[in-house]
Structures are given as structure tokens and as C-alpha cells.
Symmetry: C2
DNA sequence: GCAGGCGCGATACTCAGTACCCTCCGAGCG
DNA sequence: CGCTCGGAGGGTACTGAGTATCGCGCCTGC
């Protein structure tokens, strides 16, 4: 009818009402003690509508990740060859942090939920996995042709995600106080230092080798290389020489 | 009693029959088209017994991971301070490969299943996550006190798992032909090179030494640089060190 | 004003997972 | 010898997530 009083509040779409109702109940009585029927009853909608907006009960706990994943994919797709790949995936990871930081209270509550509900933890893993795959796919493209390109891509993507999550979780564990951005920057800087090679590091150098004298063939890992070089030698020559002696790519 | 009474603990009871029946049906008509009732009917046991042996339908697809995880935990717990931590987690990861390699045909079938069933992929993620946590917890212990100890632990554990899985999956994708061990060794070597620092020592130490002896500041072009490095130090780290000492980009 | 589309609700069904209770079987004990 | 006890397996019934189907009402476009 013409009356609008029966309609809940000026249309925060049903989806938001479902999220709000779900979290109220999850916090009140726990995730597993809350049925979908409870949620839809509180939200005042039909049961069928819940599954129209969320493919599963778990999805209502992560209502914004689908969009964030799309943002990340778009961000990576918009990258050009001028971007250093490792830095680019670090920046992509920061998109996720931004989403969490936009709503600290919500993020902390969700974190507590996922910590104590195994089913939610498993679901979160699959979400994180999709982020990691997006980063890895991007890196695989950038590393195509390089030796061990896919290996490097997968490892770097995993390292970036792990570093990001390490910082994010420590921020969440402290109830969202402190500078999450700085913590994530620090963690990602560690990964970036580890993997971002000085653009196509040329190579170079003059070397002598051996644990204790001449005749030492390719010794076991752990022995020592002594390199003597003129100070004014071009760096790339030093590296070239090193590679030759070490017998590595 | 009469047949095979004791020693090998008479292990294979109903459990193995359930696994066999489950895989037959999964391969015949697909995972989601197979109900637990189908499985127990084929195995000739009661429905209740299925859940006695497997907490969920997904678990029947990974019947050996629980034991492997226990092996890994024991392996890490049995580590001493004499073990280099990064090498140790690499060795721990090889335990998982060994389990897969013990039964290539089964592993390949399972891989195909998990590839095409989202629910199984999600479940596998939670299994992998537990391995990663075991590695990370071990490293956290070994890195306790170091700056960014937990960060390093988490990142290295993730890198090890990613490298292992990269090699493992490429082996599985090729239907289990080729040397899985060699592929995993190669992948883990990459991670080990990246992270294994020579027992707290810097990757490389460069010493400036001039013709005029010590005390000489940044000498003129023409004097000599002596660099001492562990043979297994990552090359780019050596270069970083060189750059620092030489004061060049 | 009418027709069609669609968002939504209601009912009914499948199946995973759980709770409860039953039986069978071997072991110990009166 | 029979009784009990305990544990492994089976059967029945229930909860709740997720799906299929239908029917209604509202909004839009002709």
C-alpha cells in the first residue's frame, strides 16, 4: 500500500540488514548457535532472500571481500610494464588492509569470530587463497619466460600474503589500536627487500674461492668465498665473475 | 584369533573399505553426486560407522594427512638447536611429498578431484594451513627474540609451503611421471637460498682495504676490495653488500 | 491501464552431521 | 555357568544448510 511504515527504514538494502542482524546474533549467542532462520527472522525478510544475497551462511561474515578481490584484480590488470612487479603486489595487498581499516570495530569483531569458529577459519582460508592466487597469477605473467618464473611467482605471492596477514592479525589482536598501515608497510618492506632485485641485476666479477686455499672445488654450502676486486671495477663485472665461480644462474 | 592376530596391529578395518568405496564412487559419478549413504552401502557398513572414522565427508578424501601432520609435528619437535631452522622446515616439508609419492596413482586421482570440486579445494586449504602453521610455530620458536621473529617465521613458512606445493602440483599435473623429489628439492633450494642466513651472520661482509693499509678512508680508484661471503649466500645479497661498501647505487 | 518482469516469500525436499539407543561379542567375575 | 560390563558397530530420528519450485505483489514500459 501507500503506507511506507511497514518498510524498514528508507532502504538500506536487505543485504545490509542481513549482515547487521547476523552479526548481532553471532555476537549474542555465537555463530553455530545461530540459524539462518534466526537471522532472517530478525532482519524481517524471507529465508530465501538470505541465500539470494549470500551463497552460504559463511559468506555473510565476509560481505565485502568479493568486492575487494575485484578491486585487487582490477588494480593488477591496470598495471603496466613500468611497475616493478614485487612492489606492485605489495601495493595490491595494501588494498585488503585498507578494507579492514575502513571499519576497525567490525573487523575486530569478525576476527574474534573467525578465531573461535573452525568453519569460519576454513572459509577465510579460501578467501585468502583467492587473493593469493590473484597476486600469483599477476606475477606469473610478469615473470613469464624467466627461469623458475612460476615458482618465484607462487613463492613471492605467498610471502606477501603471509607478511600482510602477520601484520594485519597483530593489529586485529590488539583490538584495532595503533597504526595498521605502518605495521603492514613494515612487514611488506621485509618481503620487498627480500625479493625485489635491483632491476635485472646485471652481473659480474673476479673471484677466488675455497674454504682454505686453492684446489677447493665447489665446496658444500657453508664454506666461504673470498673475492678480491679492484675498487673501480664495474659492479656488473664483479657479479658476472661471482656467478661464474659460484656456478649459479 | 586364527588369521593374522597380532603384530601389524591388524590395521585395515572398515576404514580402508570406506576409502576404497568412496573413491570408486567419486571417480564413477563425481564427489557431489555421491552421498554418504551410497558409500556406506557399497562398503557394506552402517552409516554411523562412516562418521566414526571420518568426521566429515571431505575427510575421506584425505585419509592420510592427519598422520602426516603428526609426523611433521614430531619431526619438528625432535629438532635440536644444531639444526639450521630453514633447512629443517624444508626437510619437514619433504615429509609431505614423501606421503604423496608413496602412492602416485592415488595422489593423482585425488588431485583431479580436488581440482574440480570447490568444497574439496577449500578443505585442502585447511589441511595445508595446518602444515604451514606447524612450520611457522617451529620457526617462531627458533626465531624467538630476533627482531621481527614472528614475521620472518610466518613468511618463511609460507614460502616453503608455496614452493613445495608448486613443485608437487606440477608433478601431479603431469600424472605423477618424473622425479617429484628432484622438483621439490629444486623449489625448496630456491627458498633456502633466499632465507637461510649463515647462522646469524650477515650474508656477506666486505672489507675495504687499501694499498696504504688500514685507516685509509674511501680510497681512490685502484685500491682493492676484499669480500668474504658464504658460498650459499644469495647472490643478490652479496651484491647488496658490495653496493653498500662501495657506496654505489 | 494493462502486460510482463522480477524481487521476494512460502513450501517442500535432499543430504550432511548429530544424538540416542539398540545389539552383538568377548572378557572378567560371581 | 551365567551374569555383567564395556566397547564396537548398526539403526532411527532429528536439526539445519542449501536447493527447487511456485505464487504473489510491485514497479516499469508500452
Amino acid at each position: 500500500m501507500s503506507s511506507s511504515s511497514a518498510v524498514p527504514a528508507a532502504k538500506p538494502p536487505i543485504r545490509d540488514a542481513l549482515v547487521a542482524a547476523a552479526f548481532r546474533l553471532f555476537l549474542e549467542r555465537g555463530y553455530e548457535q545461530t540459524t539462518v532462520d534466526d537471522i532472517v527472522a530478525l532482519a524481517g525478510v524471507g529465508r530465501r532472500s538470505f541465500f539470494r544475497y549470500f551463497p552460504s551462511k559463511e559468506d555473510v561474515v565476509f560481505p565485502d571481500h568479493e568486492g575487494c578481490l575485484a578491486d585487487m584484480t582490477a588494480f593488477l590488470a591496470a598495471s603496466g610494464p613500468e611497475h616493478e612487479p614485487v612492489r606492485r603486489v605489495c601495493d595490491a595487498a595494501r588494498l585488503v588492509l585498507r578494507m579492514y581499516a575502513e571499519n576497525p570495530a567490525f573487523s575486530v569483531q569478525r576476527y574474534r569470530l573467525t578465531r573461535q569458529v573452525p568453519g569460519l577459519r576454513a572459509y577465510e582460508l579460501s578467501v585468502v587463497w583467492r587473493y593469493e592466487r590473484a597476486l600469483a597469477e599477476y606475477l606469473r605473467g610478469r615473470f613469464a619466460g624467466r627461469p623458475d618464473g612460476t615458482l618465484r611467482a607462487d613463492v613471492i605471492a605467498a610471502a606477501v600474503v603471509a607478511a600482510h596477514n602477520n601484520a594485519l592479525r597483530s593489529w586485529l589482536r590488539s583490538d584495532g589500536v595503533g597504526d595498521a598501515g605502518a605495521a603492514v608497510d613494515h612487514a611488506l618492506a621485509y618481503v620487498h627487500r627480500t625479493y625485489a632485485r635491483p632491476a635485472d641485476a646485471p652481473a659480474a666479477a673476479a673471484v677466488r674461492s675455497g674454504p682454505a686455499g686453492p684446489g677447493g672445488g665447489p665446496g658444500p654450502a657453508g664454506d666461504v668465498v673470498v673475492l678480491v676486486s679492484r675498487r673501480d671495477a664495474p659492479l656488473w663485472r664483479v657479479v658476472q665473475e661471482l656467478e661464474t665461480v659460484l656456478g649459479r644462474p
